[in-house]
């Protein structure tokens, strides 16, 4: 349904052109749930906003939505797809809500705009959505303005708003940011509830990715380094960076990989971008590995075959 072929996004800056997304290819099937895991600076938010034509960067490669090319689509055409077919949950809970509109009205608005619902119907659906996301006395909260809500509540309001009109694809940017464990589980449950809606979610929350994803891709320094079915991935990731992520979980004693992820400015070099932090690096790593196919999985590592 959504197909990305070698999508790169670049921006001109004072220090030269930067390319936070580098030749990303992936597919989301109808009703499928794909989670992109990456740290801050891995390019995941730029990728999502680029799919909506909102990043402002220069896009090369192809973005197919139901066999129609989105890259380079005029804004008037994009506007018909955005919100109606493809919904988006932005990251910033406080900055993404209208401070002058009551919560219930804001959540119901997509139903009015895209589905022709009456104001009353939209409000009733909004109250129901709040109830499902574990708001105590949802009728009360529906009548409040955003400033009355905590950060976690605002985040859940964005989730309600993004899922209420039941579009065909939902793009979600860090939907669990700032939420505690119980709240994250509610968001995960909400995402699993819509069998007709496909999901492409970017997050750095591994536990959430495990709860929601059917397929997982890991993004490092703008490139996908591994794509795999979720169960196989969490069972045994193949890329050394993905392995280091899993080792950072509590059950593995919070182990931390050497060093820190690079920033957009110095992705450069011809070799593997993870090589200098990699415990398994060898002679081959001076040359950038392509995504290699291993059954259902793709891994960007020369040595992945040996670690299977």
């Amino acid at each position: 349904m959504l197909k990305l072929e070698s999508v790169s996004v670049s921006f001109p800056t004072a220090g030269g052109v930067i390319q936070p997304v580098d030749k990303v290819s992936l597919e989301v099937e109808k009703g499928g749930r794909h989670v992109l895991i990456g740290e801050t600076g891995s390019g995941k938010s730029v990728l999502l906003t680029s799919l909506l034509g909102l990043s402002g960067g220069e896009i090369t490669g192809h973005i197919f939505w139901k066999n129609r090319e989105l890259a380079g689509l005029p804004e008037t055409e994009y506007a018909k797809i955005r919100g109606r077919e493809i919904a988006y949950i932005p990251q910033n809970g406080a900055g993404s809500l209208n401070p002058l509109m009551k919560i219930g009205r804001q959540i119901g608005e997509p139903l009015q705009v895209h589905r022709g619902a009456s104001r009353k119907e939209a409000l009733a659906a909004a109250v129901e959505a709040l109830r499902e996301l574990d708001f105590q006395s949802p009728e009360y909260w529906a009548r409040q303005y955003p400033h009355r809500l905590s950060g976690g509540m605002r985040q859940r309001v964005l989730v309600a708003m993004g899922t209420i009109a039941g579009g065909e694809l939902l793009l979600a940017d860090e939907p669990t940011k700032g939420l505690d464990t119980d709240r994250r589980e509610e968001v995960a449950r909400r995402f699993r509830q819509f069998p007709g809606t496909a999901l492409l979610c970017v997050t750095h929350d591994l536990e959430f990715a495990r709860a929601v994803g059917e397929r997982i891709s890991v993004l490092y320094a703008g490139q996908i380094v591994e794509t795999a079915p979720a169960a196989a991935f969490f069972d045994a990731p193949l890329h050394p960076y993905a392995k280091s992520m899993i080792r950072s979980l509590p059950e593995h004693g919070f182990q931390s990989a050497k060093g820190f992820a690079p920033s957009h400015r110095d992705y450069g070099g011809l070799g593997c971008r993870f090589a200098e932090r990699c415990p398994e690096a060898g002679d081959a790593c001076g040359k950038s590995p392509p995504l290699l196919q291993f059954g259902e999985r793709q891994v960007r590592c020369w040595y992945a075959a040996g670690s299977e």
């Binding site: 740290e39 801050t40 750095h204 929350d205 059950e251 060093g259």
Partner: protein, 223 residues
């Protein structure tokens, strides 16, 4: 003994106790946990021990001498605190560099640019981060910056109030690693407040369990 608290009591209003006759002690270089649910009085205890809040009764001794709120002079530099929400620990309108330089001015610590840059590199922050405001940095980057900021004051005691609970798995592991490495080099005592048993076991050698404002148990943990 570096820090000894006896019968610390705190009430915020005429009602019940937030903290009731709490005893606690800590040696130099030791990592002690304070474990409890939200509302158990963890943060209040941290604020009393850091000299940020006055006690209603009880005494606090630092190297055997009685100390009182508010901490002044040298003590204010040697006891440092790191908070749960890194984005709230920085002035939103200041560049990261401005925020990191402020304690040097307040505590009149001589500033050395080379040392400053090296300390930041140890927590994965570089020149390009320094000109940004907190809004343009991630939670993990800000918490690492907060660590660099308190470490630059060479504290004897770091009070860490849920420093990793808002971070993703990768950043959490990085922050815990930075804390372990720093303690190995400097023998700084840590008072580590958490509600996460796995995090507690990973860092602490001894732990106080707090419930409804009272210590109900003190226990060695295998760290």
């Amino acid at each position: 003994m570096l820090l000894e608290a006896s019968k610390l009591t705190k009430r915020y209003s005429a009602g019940g106790f937030t903290l009731h006759e709490t005893d606690l002690h800590l040696d130099a270089g030791e990592t002690v946990g304070i474990f409890g649910k939200s509302g158990s009085g963890k943060t209040t205890l941290a604020n009393l021990l850091a000299g940020i809040l006055p006690v209603n009764s009880g005494t606090l001794r630092w190297n055997g001498e009685i100390v009182r709120y508010p901490f002044r002079g040298e003590l204010r530099r040697t006891v440092q605190m790191v908070y749960q929400h890194p984005e709230e620990a920085f002035d939103p309108l200041w560049s990261l560099r401005q925020s990191l330089l402020e304690p040097y001015r307040i505590h009149k610590v001589p500033f050395d640019e080379a040392e400053f840059v090296q300390r930041l590199a140890q927590v994965g922050l570089y020149e390009e981060h320094l000109s940004r405001r907190p809004g343009a940095l991630s939670g993990g980057e800000l918490q690492r910056a907060a660590l660099a900021r308190v470490m630059s004051m060479a504290p004897k005691l770091l009070i860490l109030d849920e420093p990793v609970s808002m971070l993703d798995a990768v950043s959490r592991a990085q922050v815990l690693q930075i804390l372990r490495d720093y303690q190995r080099q400097h023998r700084t005592a840590y008072l580590f407040i958490t509600h996460d048993p796995a995090v507690m076991r990973c860092l602490c050698s001894r732990c106080y369990f707090l419930e409804n404002g009272s210590v109900v148990k003190e226990e060695k943990v295998g760290a």
